[in-house]
Symmetry: D2
Amino acid sequence: MSQSAPEYTLAAHPTTVGDARASTKPVRVTPTLVIGGHDVIVAAGPCSVEGYDMLLASARHVQAAGGTLLRGGAFKPRTSPYAFQGLGEEGLLLLASVREQTGMPIVTEVMDTRQVARVAQIADVLQVGARNMQNFPLLAELGRAGKPVLLKRGASARISELLLAAEYVIANGNERVILCERGIRTFETITRNTLDISAIPVLKAETHLPVIVDPSHAGGRADLVLPLALAAIAAGADGLIVEVHPDPSTARSDADQQLTFAQFTDLMHGISLIAAATNRAVRKPIPSPVVPNIATSDGAAMSHDTRRLAEETLAEETLAEETLAEETLAEETLAVVAA
Amino acid sequence: MSQSAPEYTLAAHPTTVGDARASTKPVRVTPTLVIGGHDVIVAAGPCSVEGYDMLLASARHVQAAGGTLLRGGAFKPRTSPYAFQGLGEEGLLLLASVREQTGMPIVTEVMDTRQVARVAQIADVLQVGARNMQNFPLLAELGRAGKPVLLKRGASARISELLLAAEYVIANGNERVILCERGIRTFETITRNTLDISAIPVLKAETHLPVIVDPSHAGGRADLVLPLALAAIAAGADGLIVEVHPDPSTARSDADQQLTFAQFTDLMHGISLIAAATNRAVRKPIPSPVVPNIATSDGAAMSHDTRRLAEETLAEETLAEETLAEETLAEETLAVVAA
Amino acid sequence: MSQSAPEYTLAAHPTTVGDARASTKPVRVTPTLVIGGHDVIVAAGPCSVEGYDMLLASARHVQAAGGTLLRGGAFKPRTSPYAFQGLGEEGLLLLASVREQTGMPIVTEVMDTRQVARVAQIADVLQVGARNMQNFPLLAELGRAGKPVLLKRGASARISELLLAAEYVIANGNERVILCERGIRTFETITRNTLDISAIPVLKAETHLPVIVDPSHAGGRADLVLPLALAAIAAGADGLIVEVHPDPSTARSDADQQLTFAQFTDLMHGISLIAAATNRAVRKPIPSPVVPNIATSDGAAMSHDTRRLAEETLAEETLAEETLAEETLAEETLAVVAA
Amino acid sequence: MSQSAPEYTLAAHPTTVGDARASTKPVRVTPTLVIGGHDVIVAAGPCSVEGYDMLLASARHVQAAGGTLLRGGAFKPRTSPYAFQGLGEEGLLLLASVREQTGMPIVTEVMDTRQVARVAQIADVLQVGARNMQNFPLLAELGRAGKPVLLKRGASARISELLLAAEYVIANGNERVILCERGIRTFETITRNTLDISAIPVLKAETHLPVIVDPSHAGGRADLVLPLALAAIAAGADGLIVEVHPDPSTARSDADQQLTFAQFTDLMHGISLIAAATNRAVRKPIPSPVVPNIATSDGAAMSHDTRRLAEETLAEETLAEETLAEETLAEETLAVVAA
């Protein structure tokens, strides 16, 4: 697959004019998975890889609920040097093992130029965290890594700076960059960050790169993940990256913002409906065989009726959209291969 | 109608716990219109009232496309003293005249304590602009005005401050306050403001007051109004206030952010689909008899297929939802009267 | 005195080029007092007027320590409607009474267009608070009030917006506008606001209006008032407005940021030294006959040696500078009268 | 020299209470130079090392005007991958060569964990740029580098986060950390960043680490460097890092904010006066043998009279302070050695 077509050299300049959707060039992650195509893609999993059992359980639930990629941090950037810094190499091996069990591609963060080669051996998508968005040597190294890069917007980065950070990766030889809006730092303190929802249509208009959203870090609160995820899909995001944990209260990092499995199932149902309302679909949404359906106590949760309606609609949508999704994927694959 | 039930004294404290939706207390605007109930309500119209013809044309289009209230500025807060300051009293009279022609309730801004009594004679909803969110004498006067108040969040106001501003109105005797998120000021310069989409679920959780969104001022760009509107409804907003102008390029204020009639029709179709996907409906969405349907060139526009799908779905939704909407309205009316 | 010289119509455009200092046009407050001339002017007093005794004691101490104007709030803008709102009319009368006792000109806030005429009867300088910087009807009314206006920068106002707010006053007939930097709202939470120290030289370069600084609101912490005041004078501010209270711990508003009398004496000593180092002087710094000089415990306080050095230097400076100050004042008076 | 006294392990906790000045623990850079002691220390030089001649000329002028350290970038973090990225290794060698010529210690930036060992061979102080303040692997590596670290505050970093970043260096074995305030990102666009002047006294109170200020990046405008530098020293900064270039208009980076030699001489004169006014001194201010003293045209420049006064005062101050400075240095050296 050639990705060096000269017209894609500059991320900041879309290769086609007109309809924004059409001008997004999907990024291929695996032979059967692209991000930035017709389907909404969801990556989910625990903030930190804490052990095999919790990771496998998370992966299985994410997959059953319709998630496509498994996220999990092995190397963790933490504000304090005394906080849990991740399992490192051991975490990478756990991710690889769970991928073998589930078939789910893995997205994980890389923080150090010296780690890039090793993490690239394991991960399917290399994540650059918000704090490293302008770590230029790291970006340059990722340009040579041969794996797709999920580039998170810095908490105080202007959109123009995010695009130039993407340029560092692209200019160094790697066009497979996926942008991620994850909230910016403002004066508001009731949320951890302020999700810049406008960034989605702006980035879609300014560049051909796919744009996904991290509603977990944006709000920093589990009760906000669902409404922010719905908003992100409605605004045109190509996907989400969401933190899910078997028992968020015991998580070794970001305990406040990780979803329970039940909450994640609700989220997948909710975004399936929003995707359908905007003529898209969540990729291969496989309804969870055993929907836990435990009533959540947070205020933003969907009502029982909403969930039932969602499930019914989802069932219909799935039948209708799956054919279309497969056709679109086929077309995209051809388009990319032809490039 | 009594609104002085003691449990509603403090806006900052919801009267009920649990599901956020249920805890919103609808604000009655007219005998047949509430904001904050089951239906999504849209107020739209020109930024400034510039004359009778443009106002009537705007109102008729807004109404045909499914908008419920007519917005239009008579007294305009402008950053420069040399900019157009609105038609003032003449603008008020034009608003009253167009209401007579169309039956649409009017929302218009009041900036000065000395204007409150006069504007309250004409307007159905009194708007407090973002710059006046902490104009405490004005808020107190609006507490005595006897009309619902649309309180816009200040560009640098924390959510806690918005709630305390609402308290000024409520503590002075007027519980009919509708909150409006319209974007906050951040370091990002590619948009006029940054829509704080998280504010919607946070405000819904923190208070019983209805929450609407102004996607026009949030982005300051016509091409962002649609995606921001879709996101706002998906995140749970009770409605929108949108700027629409017969010919935005000639507008005497906010030319960059006002929608054409065709764009507004697209927006109404789009939010109808999102509302349906979240088990709500746009109030009485009356399809425009003559949909201009001119293809818009901006990148965020919906594709033709999406629009067609939207129209079909809308037709079905309307039938299904209208009954429910009327029932809900009836229940709400009873609930409010009983309070 | 004519203030309608056409060259001063636009605040945003300095009337002279070159040296910033020379291009500031002093604003006359009383026949013997200008702000924006050679001397550094300090206004100080309690946040709120709480009673006669505390106000008189504050005024006497401020005057003894070298302060020129008495500040004190009669009408208080408070974030919560349940907080102390000021003594109102009674507060105005107390201010007038203390002025009679001390001869100190008074600066106090006006919040409502309906109050302007009454407050202008009493006050020597009418203050517009940060929350009202874009209360355009109030600004217009102040253009007709016949008294100098102290215009505080809004917490999220760009400098260009502050200048256009000043334009509202000027365009309505009042050129006696004094700008005040009092901190802007940022993401930093360890201080109440972030003093934008750069605003001082920028405003001095962009306009001919005097610029003073409010170090009390900027930091919101008593221990930061001294270093911020020193920085402001070093950066070229024409003066300060500082909160001082006989017993800050009992203050009915802003208890955390008001200085004790001893701290205020330290501040006056400190800025006298900085003013001298930049070839200026604090206006008529009259050493307090009974300097309390109680060692303060906060970390930013000046050491005993510094204070002694300050006093000695002050004594010399006073002799040397007073003649110059009087000469400058005379020249300025002539210049203004001639305009 | 032992720096491992356990009481200094946590930067965030000052080791002594009371007077802030006393609680700063000086950081030793060379046997004869500490930062954070009685004297104000100035590092200056070009943004980027562009060649030998320009670097030597800059160093000689900085030294003659009273600067102590030479700054110059060899590895440059640039927002765009297409901008000049610095001379790299060649730049390091030029820095070493000029140090040999002038005896000036060198401060230069390191961006990549893989560069730390090499840069530490050459530089006397290793600078962490604002974009890398939370590059945790880099901070950890600097903990093992054996050279003092100049840690710049990130553009959107809270003070608490800056202190925790310093902790990363300290916790990894290196207590010689110097903090640098260089402006934060706010909504204001008239300056490149907003200098958070309050950060100086806050950091001095919260930690024992020295605090210096970068007025060049803070404002991003050459005309603001002088007033910001004066403000920084007045607020208690332990020193400055300033960009100076033989011909700023031709600079390959940051052309707008670099000072000419004449402007730098003015700056040194100005801060000498402010330092004296706060009972400190600029370290060994050696008056330039050939002071260019060309009148600068920018608005913030000091008047001729101010400069003359500055020079006279400087001469006196130098005599008076130098003895004291040497005594203080001796005491500090003893204190550090004893630790």
